[in-house]
Amino acid sequence: MTMTMIKVDHLAVSYGHGDSILRVVNDVSFEVARGETFGLVGESGCGKSTVLGALAGRNRQWTGSIRIDDETIGQKRSISQLAKQQMVFQDPFGSIHPRHTIGRTLLEPLEIHGKDNRQERVEKALKDVGLPLNFRYRFPHQLSGGQRQRVAIARALILEPRILLLDEPTSALDVSIQAEILNLLKDLRDREKLTYILVSHDLAVVAHLCDRVAIMQNGGFVEVATKAQLLADTVAHPYTRVLMDGSRGYVASQRPVGVTAP
C-alpha cells in the first residue's frame, strides 16, 4: 500500500461526440495522499466539476490514467471500485429522492451492494452525521437544507468509502449551516481517515478544509497552492489572487473601471 490514494495523469475530459465534441478538461495531473484533502477551485465552466465527475465515474469520456487506491481505473468500473469513492452533491434539494423516506434512501446502497446488518448500518450512518434516528421515517420535504445535506453525506458514507468527492457541498446553504457541515466534514475525515476532493468557488471554504488547492481556469491548472501559501498570501499566480480577493468580498474600485466582460 502506497501513500498515494488518487493519482491522475494527463487527464482530459470531453463532452459530446463527432463534430460537436467539446473538450472541457485538458491534460491535468495530480496526486492526492491518503487522508489528504485536495481542493479544486475556479469559476463556472473551468472544468472543476468535470474532473470530479471523471473521478466519480459519472463522466466516462476521458483519456489519460486514473489510479485509485493502487488500482488502475477503466472507463467502466466494478461494483467494488464504485464503492471506493462516493459523491456529495451541491443541491441538497435535488440529490435525495423526493418520494423515498430517508431510511429508504440509506438502505438503497446497502441493497445494491448486498451488505448485511442493514438496520444497524442505517442507524450508525444517521448517528455519524448527527441526525436523530427517527428521521429515517421522514420524507425529504420535511427536512431543512442542512439536514438534507447531512442525509446526503450519510448516504455517501454508508458504503464505507475511502474517498468523498464533494461538489460545492455548502454553496446552497446559509452561512451558519455551512459552518455546521464544514465542521461535520472535518470530524468525519479525522475519525474515518477519509480522503476528500472538494470542489468550490469560494477560496475561504477551500482553505478552511483543504491541505492543497488546485486553481483551475479554462480546463487546466494554473497553480497548485498549499494551505500555508493561501493563508500567508504567498501564492504565485495573479488569477489565484483575484479569486482570493473575491472571497473577501468587494474591493472598492480602482477607477476608472476599465475591463469589459467577454
Binding site: M87, D91, P98, T101, E108, I112, H113, N134, R138
Partner: protein, 312 residues
C-alpha cells in the same frame, strides 16, 4: 380538531386522536409515514367535491359489479318473449328489451363487462407503456429513436379506426376487443413515461444511485416509477372513459362483446331498432356510459391535483 380536552374521551375523541396521529409528521414508523400520505390524500380528495363525486360513482360501479347477483332478481340472459319491449314499471325498473330481458339486470351485469374490459386494458397497457417509454427516455440514443418511431406510427392513426381494424382482423369477441383497445391506448402512456423519465434522468439522486452501482432495472423500478406513477395513474384514469367509450363503440358496431352478453354499447346498438317505440333501450345504457365515463374523468382530474409530485 378543536376538541375541548374535557370531552376528549368520547367516541369522537378516539377519532380526534387517530386524526392527530395520522396528521402528525413526527413519524415513528414507516407504516405511519405511509398511512399519513394516504390520509392526506384522502383529506384532499374530500376537499374536492367534483373529484369526490367521481370517486363515489367509480366505487359504486365496483360494488354494483361485485354484487350483481344480489342486486337483481332476473336472469340477464333469460328470455321471455311475452314480456318483450315493456316500458319501465315497478317490476322492471328500466323496462325490458326485445327478447323480454330485464334492462335493469342487464345494466347491472353490463357493469361487470365494462369493468372487466377497462381493468384488463389498464393492466396490460400500464407496464407496456411504462417499460417502452422509460427505456427510451433512460437509454436515449438509437433505442429512443426506434421505440419512439414505433410509438409514433401507432399514434398517427385515430384510435377508434385502429381499434376497429384490429378487432376486425382478430375477429369479434370481448378478449379481442381488449387487445385491440390496448393497442391503441399504450402509445400516449409510453410518450408520457418517456417525458417524465427524461425530466428525472439526470437528477442528482439518479446519478447518485448510478454512482453507487444501481443497474438500469433498479433505477427504473425504484427511482423512476415512484415519480412517474402519479402522472401515469392520472392518465390511465382519464383514459378509462375513452376505453369505456371505445369498448361501447366496438360493441355498438358488433365487433366487441357478442350477444347475448350484457354490454352497454351492444345494448344501445340493439335498442336502436326500437328507438321510437322503446326509448329506454338506448337511453339507459347511454346514460350509464355517460355517467361512468364522466365520473372517471372527474376522478382523474382530482387525482392530478392530489398526486402531482410538484405539489409535494
Amino acid at each position: 380538531m378543536t376538541q375541548d380536552p374535557g370531552t376528549a374521551m368520547t367516541k369522537s375523541g378516539y377519532f380526534t386522536d387517530l386524526h392527530n396521529w395520522l396528521i402528525n409528521e413526527d413519524f415513528t414508523s414507516t407504516r405511519q409515514a405511509r398511512l399519513h400520505k394516504a390520509y392526506v390524500a384522502w383529506l384532499s380528495l374530500l376537499a374536492n367535491p367534483l373529484a369526490f363525486a367521481g370517486f363515489a360513482v367509480v366505487v359504486t360501479l365496483v360494488i354494483i359489479a361485485a354484487l350483481a347477483p344480489v342486486l337483481t332478481v332476473y336472469d340477464p340472459y333469460g328470455q321471455d318473449l311475452t314480456m318483450a319491449l315493456k316500458a319501465p314499471s315497478a317490476s322492471h325498473w328500466f323496462g325490458t328489451d326485445e327478447f323480454g330481458r330485464d334492462v335493469y339486470t342487464r345494466i347491472v351485469y353490463g357493469a361487470r363487462t365494462t369493468l372487466y374490459i377497462s381493468i384488463l386494458v389498464t393492466v396490460i397497457v400500464a407496464p407496456i407503456g411504462f417499460v417502452i417509454g422509460a427505456s427510451a427516455g433512460y437509454l436515449g440514443g438509437w433505442v429512443d429513436v426506434v421505440l419512439m418511431r414505433i410509438t409514433d406510427i401507432f399514434l398517427s392513426f385515430p384510435s377508434l379506426v385502429l381499434a376497429l381494424a384490429f378487432s376486425a382482423a382478430l375477429g369479434p369477441g370481448i378478449e379481442n376487443a381488449v387487445i385491440a383497445i390496448a393497442l391503441t391506448i399504450w402509445p400516449p402512456i409510453a410518450r408520457l413515461a418517456r417525458a417524465e423519465t427524461l425530466t428525472f434522468r439526470n437528477a442528482d439522486f439518479v446519478v447518485a444511485a448510478e454512482l453507487q452501482g444501481a443497474r438500469m432495472g433498479r433505477i427504473l423500478l425504484r427511482h423512476i416509477v415512484p415519480l412517474c406513477a402519479p402522472s401515469i395513474i392520472v392518465r390511465l384514469t382519464l383514459n378509462m372513459s375513452s376505453i369505456i367509450l371505445t369498448a361501447a363503440g366496438l360493441g355498438f358496431l358488433g365487433l366487441g362483446a357478442q350477444p347475448p352478453m350484457a354490454e352497454w354499447g351492444a345494448m344501445a346498438a340493439a335498442g336502436r331498432k326500437y328507438l321510437l317505440d322503446a326509448w329506454w333501450l338506448t337511453t339507459i345504457p347511454g346514460l350509464a356510459i355517460l355517467v361512468v365515463s364522466l365520473a372517471f374523468n372527474l376522478f382523474g382530474d382530482g387525482l392530478r391535483d392530489i398526486l402531482d409530485p410538484r405539489n409535494a
